[in-house]
């Protein structure tokens, strides 16, 4: 389908090519804060930023963002004497306002300066508030009745939920780096509890809900120097309102406490709903019925959120544009593992914002996309690709078997007895700059894994004879046994250059009890073997009995250069990120790689069209 050569494809240029008129240079920005009272009396804090031209009040479309991370910041002294919003917010609001768009930022109930409490994210009440806020916006004298909801991470999911109301005022949503399946994308990928993120996210949420900026001191020191909390509403008329709101937050509950014993997808939330209730895939029908056009973007390197863009593409009928790049969570830091020293993120924030603005502009001018298009970035080749189908044209699998002497070969093993033992090293770790820690905003940097691989069981190929593009989800099948009644296998796909530098490409893991491949209809279409993670499908782990672990790795797009090798590195734990399984003991895993019980990885490659 490509009319252009790969060299010319760039989603940010293609989506922003139409010229949008900026409003008069002499406009003034009006910023105000307000409480909006919901149906149950809970007051929700909003900050509105509007362009104003003299006395003339123009009617304009609105960008709505709903956050749990403070809609606006209270600047420390002396900065509050000089500027009335955070410099980052100024950039965002100025760009939107300069093109004649209003912005409305919201503290969702139980957070920031809003009143109310929350038992968990995206409660029914919180989602319902979104619709009331939409209706409030379009009733304002400055609104032209058209709203786009946008944002990254939590804000993105909030925007996706907004479609479930089928409110005609919602004209488009722009979702960045957010989940689709809360269980697998972040909380318990592979059925293993992501305790570090869940703990850090809960702690930082608890501090923010009590208006305490201390978590920024360690993680974002510049931020901490500039701000001391959430921006209050009506601080002069009633200086105690913020304190009253914060007091209500004391009744909040946090996900770590609610999920730390989570083992199965069908475990319940406090209100009796399944965990899936807070996954947007669970609301697929309502999202599709809204027909709202979606711009969905993320990174191959961001937690499970890279696959989210593909899952939306595969599962939602809504017109949509997907973008998959090589950044950290939030696209603020470059995170291409093959260029670890890059400093500048590409595209810059301004370019991203203009892309979102153009998308909204097209949607409100009846130029919305009428199909699905996915842009993805191929690392090492350093090019954007564009496709209307997934997997892309030319996609096929190349099978690589684990063989003698820790090698990977494309020929199946012939001997009946081959196996390798691995004593699980519970000190093995991908560190604090992995795809899971980036959920807190950190850079993704696995570094040269040559030394770390010494703690792991590895299988390495011969040097490639030509460049090969890997695009999609690798699928690994490992026949193994263990000495204990629980355990996990982590599989890392790596590139080794001729100098011996080992570069992370992608990974996947699975807790053994979840290994059953379910033949029930999957909850949603996916490119990897379907494991239900439900209690009824849990299989016991019998010590020394061989079991097949067949699982998908996270999607990627990368070129293995001629002369480079690929490696599969296997581990039994990732110390600084996931819960330990089993919780005690020193398990030894045996990996079978023989003619009866083979182990292999299917690597998704793109076969180029032959030029006649």
């Amino acid at each position: 389908m490509n009319e252009k050569s790969d060299d010319e494809i760039n989603p940010f240029l293609e989506l922003s090519k139409e010229s949008i008129k900026m409003i008069n240079d002499s406009y003034e920005r009006i910023i105000f804060d307000e409480y909006i009272t919901m149906r149950d009396g809970v007051k929700i804090a909003v900050t509105v930023s509007l362009p104003k031209l003299g006395e003339q009040q123009i009617k304009m479309p609105t960008f709505l963002s709903q956050t749990r991370y403070w809609r606006a910041m209270n600047l420390r002294l002396p900065f509050r004497w000089l500027i009335n919003e955070m410099p980052l917010a100024t950039v965002v609001n100025e760009i939107y306002n300069s093109y004649g768009y209003a912005t409305v930022s919201v503290d969702v109930r139980g957070t920031g300066a809003s009143f109310g409490t929350r038992n968990f994210p995206f409660t029914r009440e919180e989602v319902q508030d979104g619709n009331e806020l939409l209706n409030w916006i379009i009733s304002q004298p400055w609104s032209n009745g058209m709203v786009c909801s946008s944002g990254g991470s939590y804000l993105g999911t909030a925007a996706e939920y907004l479609t479930t109301h089928n409110n005609p005022a919602l004209k488009s949503i722009v979702l960045g780096h957010c989940s689709w399946d809360a269980f697998l994308d972040g909380a318990a990928p592979g059925g293993c509890f992501n305790y570090t993120f869940m703990q850090m996210w809960s702690l930082s949420g608890k501090l923010q809900d009590q208006n305490n900026p201390k978590m920024f001191k360690q993680n974002l020191p510049l931020f901490w120097l500039l701000i001391d909390g959430v921006k209050p509403v009506n601080s002069k008329s009633d200086p105690n309102l913020l304190q009253e709101a914060i007091k209500e937050h004391l009744n909040n509950q946090y996900v770590y406490e609610l999920t730390k014993d989570l083992n199965f997808r069908d475990d319940k939330l406090p209100d009796g709903n399944p965990v899936d209730y807070i996954s947007t895939f669970y609301h697929k029908q309502e999202i599709e019925e809204s027909k709202v056009p979606i711009l969905s973007w993320s990174s191959w390197l961001d937690s499970g959120y890279g696959d989210v863009v593909i899952h939306r593409f595969l599962n939602l009928d809504n017109p949509q544009i997907g973008i998959l790049g090589d950044w950290n969570h939030g696209a603020t830091i470059p995170s291409n593992q093959f260029f670890p020293n890059r400093k500048e993120v590409n595209p810059a924030l301004e370019e991203l914002l203009k892309t979102w603005l153009h998308f909204f502009h097209q949607c409100i001018n009846n130029k919305q996309p009428n199909k699905k298009v996915l842009y993805y970035y191929t690392m090492v080749e350093e090019k954007w690709k564009k496709t209307e189908i997934w997997p892309p044209e030319g996609h096929t699998y190349s099978r690589w078997f684990f063989t003698d002497n820790n090698t990977l070969e494309q020929v199946p093993p012939q001997t009946p007895n081959g196996s390798d033992t691995y004593k699980v090293d519970f000190f093995a770790s991908t560190g604090k700059n992995n795809r899971w820690w980036t959920l807190m905003g950190f850079k993704v940097l696995y570094g040269d894994r040559a030394v770390k691989d010494k703690k792991l069981l590895t299988y390495t190929s011969e040097p490639f004879k030509q460049d090969v593009e890997i695009t999609g989800n690798p699928i690994i099948s490992i026949n193994l046994s263990t000495t204990h009644q629980d355990g996990v296998i982590y599989a890392y796909l790596e590139d080794i250059n001729p100098e011996g530098i080992v570069t992370y490409i992608t990974d996947g893991h699975m807790r053994f009890i979840h290994r059953k491949i379910s033949h029930e209809p999957p909850l949603y279409k996916t490119m990897v073997p379907y494991h239900s993670y439900k209690r009824k499908d849990a299989l016991p782990v019998i010590p020394h009995k061989i079991m097949e672990i067949k699982m998908g790795l996270f999607g990627t797009s990368v070129v293995i250069k001629k002369g480079h090798r690929i490696r599969i590195a296997l581990a039994g734990h990732d110390r600084e990120t996931f819960t330990k399984y089993p919780s005690s003991g020193k398990p030894v895993i045996t990996v079978y790689r023989n003619s009866t019980n083979s182990s292999y990885i299917d690597i998704p490659i793109i076969k180029k069209k032959s030029h006649k």
Partner: protein, 121 residues
């Protein structure tokens, strides 16, 4: 971000005037800008936090801070001559110190930041 720091440095010096009354051991801050969104220019606690974070004032230093929201004048009074001398020294270059700190932290140099003796409650 760099350009914002430069603007802030200029604005701080232009709009926040500092005057000293040695006889009464008092420092006056006169907020002349019109940019802040609320009429309240701050609380005495916020002013003290500013002095601790950006000026290096010891938390135990005994200062009496009076904020007048109508005149936009903040009085910082000390009883002890030695503490006044220290406060005066801090205030004579606090805006440069403030922006220098932001600039350092922005490029990843946390050496000065790590000496800040202030913790959020």
């Amino acid at each position: 971000m760099e350009s914002i720091f430069s603007i802030l440095r200029t604005k701080l010096k232009e709009y926040i005037k500092i005057e000293f009354d040695d006889r009464n051991r008092t420092v006056y801050l006169w907020v002349k800008s019109k940019q802040y969104s609320e009429d309240i220019i701050g609380t005495s606690d916020e002013v003290k936090v500013m002095l601790i974070i950006f000026g290096g004032l010891r938390e135990t230093t005994s200062v009496n801070i009076e904020v007048n929201n109508d005149s936009k004048i903040i009085k910082i009074i000390t009883e002890i001559e030695e503490e006044y001398t220290n406060l005066k020294s801090i205030m004579s270059h606090i805006w440069d110190d403030t922006i220098d700190l932001l600039e350092q932290v922005n490029v990843g140099d946390l050496s000065k930041f790590q000496t800040i003796k202030y913790e959020d409650n």
